[in-house]
């Protein structure tokens, strides 16, 4: 499918994502202006503050965006009973984007005003202007061009950074980019990146035009008008914000998912089953990176998502690995209930364990069937692992030790990119997921975990106890999903989305119909 075809097919969704993206950018830059300009003015009055404040804004800009999101999510700060920071979604994304946009706005306001000719300032003061009058009638109008230039830079930064907001369910064009990365789909990546770039260019041109016309002279005549426009825009955005925050998941079930295809499909399966069987309205909050889904569940941002028993045991509870699937499920069940008031329901039926993968050709040529076989030749190999696998205790560190693996090089990349990297000979061994549809697509070979290093990763919906009490019908629905999927079926569903480029929503619906859950 070409990019153009994709756009014509998905016009509606594209429009929605563009609007979400614009919403994030307009609100964030709007708030950044409302904070940054007064701060910049303050700095011209109290120069001693300029070092700490500009320093803070500077540091904020250097924090990687995903790290900043991760840092903000558990904060949960309230102002007048309204949550302003914390949790997943647009709110936290906006806070992060505001922090990113502040520096250019503060700095340009500060320098714009500081660079006003001292003689002009003297003239104003000599004529009997108060500090406020001098600021509003002389300094700000003269600095306006420079301030707008700062807003312009901030906006462009914001358009770019907002794509990452999709990782915490804040929407926007990043959804296409993340989805595309996951599915190794360049068209999908471009479908997110190209409109985002166009928005950035358009914003740059528009604000550049403002900057020019607002220079001396024209500014004064058009000033009241453009001020009016700007305030109208801010009010509009604020209203949009109120609407956005108020339409959050009150009175509905929020289904979450992690940020890979299988999780999105499972999220859809759970969501559609709840909609059809329990008759409840469902909000989908998919694509949550890292441990965000777990944190969102604890924080009540979502009510249910599908977790894997091994992940719960090792990554969340930080316990020692166990080999017996039943034992693992028992452990996480009791620990989650006691510690988080969360309930593990019926296992869906398949085990998505780490799959140590090599190219089919290599396996044949070298006669490899197990990971132990690979350990003998690994010193000449380059390995590629996702960030998740590299960082978790049961991932690379423990795994390489258990098998005595030493690679010539280890590359850390996005999990979704590792399959392609392996197929294209950029790496020689990866750790994928056993249910990944790309395994058959790229003709990859899964080495057997002959030392049983990896614990079982049975997929099980995890749900808040509070939600189960509030909506008892939910329990029946989740019970019905027990044992509904085999590994093979899961791999097929994954391939339908990753390989055949079908929508997760449709794939899930078809599957549930086939199983008689939906009619």
């Amino acid at each position: 499918m070409t990019l153009l075809e994709f756009f014509t097919h998905n016009r509606g969704e594209l429009g929605e994502l563009v609007m979400e993206h614009l919403f994030l950018v307009v609100i964030s830059t709007g708030i950044a202006v409302l904070i940054g300009v007064p701060l910049g003015i303050l700095l011209t009055r109290r120069p001693a503050l300029s070092k700490p404040i500009l320093g803070f804004a500077n540091i904020m800009q250097t924090v990687p965006s995903l790290a900043l999101f991760g840092f903000l999510i558990p904060l949960n700060i309230y102002l007048f009973q309204v949550k302003i920071v914390g949790g997943i979604g647009a709110r936290t994304a906006i806070v992060a984007l505001v922090l990113y946009s502040l520096l250019p706005i503060i700095r340009n306001t500060f320098t714009g005003i500081s660079n006003v000719d001292p003689a002009i300032r003297d003239a104003g003061r000599g004529m009997g202007m108060t500090d406020r009058q001098l600021l509003l009638q002389v300094e700000l109008p003269l600095a306006l061009g420079v301030i707008i230039a700062g807003v312009r830079v901030a906006t462009v930064i914001c358009v770019g950074t907002a794509t990452i907001a999709a990782a915490i369910d804040a929407g926007g064009l990043g959804r296409y980019i993340f989805r595309g990365l996951r599915a190794n789909d360049n068209v999908l990546i471009l479908a997110g990146a190209v409109p985002a770039a166009l928005i950035a260019i358009a914003a740059d041109l528009l604000l550049g035009y403002f900057e020019k016309t607002i220079q001396l002279g024209a500014a004064v005549r058009g000033k009241s008008k453009s001020l009016l426009w700007a305030s109208a825009l801010v009010i509009l955005a604020a209203l949009g914000g109120v609407y956005f925050f108020n339409t959050n998941s009150t009175g509905r079930i929020a289904v979450g998912s992690k940020d890979f295809t299988e999780q999105v499909i499972l999220g859809e399966i759970v969501a559609q089953a709840i909609e059809a069987k329990a008759g409840l309205q469902v909000v989908r909050r998919f694509d949550l990176g890292g441990n965000l889904a777990h944190e969102a569940l604890i924080g009540g941002e979502i009510d249910v998502y599908v977790e894997y028993t091994g992940t719960g045991l090792l990554a969340i509870l930080k316990e020692k690995p166990l080999a017996d699937p039943q034992e693992v499920l028992r452990r996480v069940k009791s620990a989650y209930a006691a510690r988080f008031k969360l309930e593990w329901t019926e296992p869906l039926g398949f085990n998505n364990t780490f799959a140590i993968l090599v190219r089919g050709d290599d396996a044949k040529k070298l006669g490899l069937t197990t990971v132990s076989d690979a350990a003998k030749v690994s010193s000449r190999w380059r390995a590629g692992f996702g960030q998740d696998f590299m960082s978790r205790a049961d991932g690379y560190p423990g795994f390489s030790k258990a098998y005595g693996l030493h690679f010539e090089a280890t590359r850390e990349m996005d999990l979704s990119l590792t399959y392609r990297a392996l197929a294209e000979n950029q790496v020689d061994l990866i750790a994928g997921n056993s249910t990944d549809g790309l395994i058959s697509r790229y003709g990859l070979f899964q080495l057997a975990d002959d030392r049983h290093y990896f614990p079982p990763y049975d997929a099980v919906p995890v749900v808040r106890q509070a939600t189960l009490e509030k909506y008892p019908a939910l329990r029946g629905v989740l019970k019905q999903l027990g044992g509904i999927l085999t590994v093979d079926e899961m791999r097929k569903l994954n391939y339908a989305v990753d390989g055949e480029k079908r929508q997760a929503k449709d794939v899930a619906q078809e599957f549930l119909r086939g199983k008689g859950v939906l009619r």
């Binding site: 003689a119 002009i120 003297d122 003239a123 104003g124 000599g126 004529m127 009997g128 202007m129 001396l216």
Partner: protein, 255 residues
Amino acid sequence: MSKNEIAIEFRDVSFVLPGGKTLLAQLNLQVGRGETLVLLGRSGSGKTTTMKLINRLIDPTAGQVIINGKPTVDWDPIRLRRRIGYVIQEIGLFPHLTIEQNIGVVPRLEGWQPERIRQRAYELLNLVGLDAERFAGRMPRELSGGQRQRVGVARALAADPPVILLDEPFGALDPITRRGIQQEFKALQQNLGKTMVFVTHDIAEAFVLGSRIGLLKDGEMVLLGAPAELLQSSHPEARAFAACFHDGQAIGRPA
């Protein structure tokens, strides 16, 4: 001069920078109502410092500056400044405001009605010899240096302040424009009857405009008196300036 006739008085005024550099030492000075005092001196002699002490852009580190019988430190600086017109070199016009708006700044601060401000601006533009219809809507950058200076004077007169400070207002003009505008300004000055303090480093200008001249050197007033006294003084600084004056006269004299 009786007490009522004094508009501005300096009593042992000194101004010392925080670093210890003395810009003005022990200045004593009286300016009568309706009088034009010209402060003459080289760059850095303390002329501009003296001006800024009058409209309280700075406060004296010792002594008192008394305006209308009240020390400046007791004045609300905003009220004080609005009673004092201020003209500085051409850069003083606000580049983002039209000529009319520039002239109307103080009246607007004083809360005049827009119609009255406009009337006043037109009246003043015509008074300083600029066609109001043509110039009112223009921006400062569209005007020549001489035109800008006229606007500067008009702006200082806008709210009809009893005192006007002029800090080298014609300094950036070419000599020919400058002579012309000086003559016009002198005529204006006689009609208006304002108290004026005029700073210049041009002795010819001082002679044309000043009823008295104060000669400053390194922050000290070395001479204060009628123009003729300056020419007769034996003080080296006075002789230096007088020499310039005679040179200028010699060049201007027909052969």
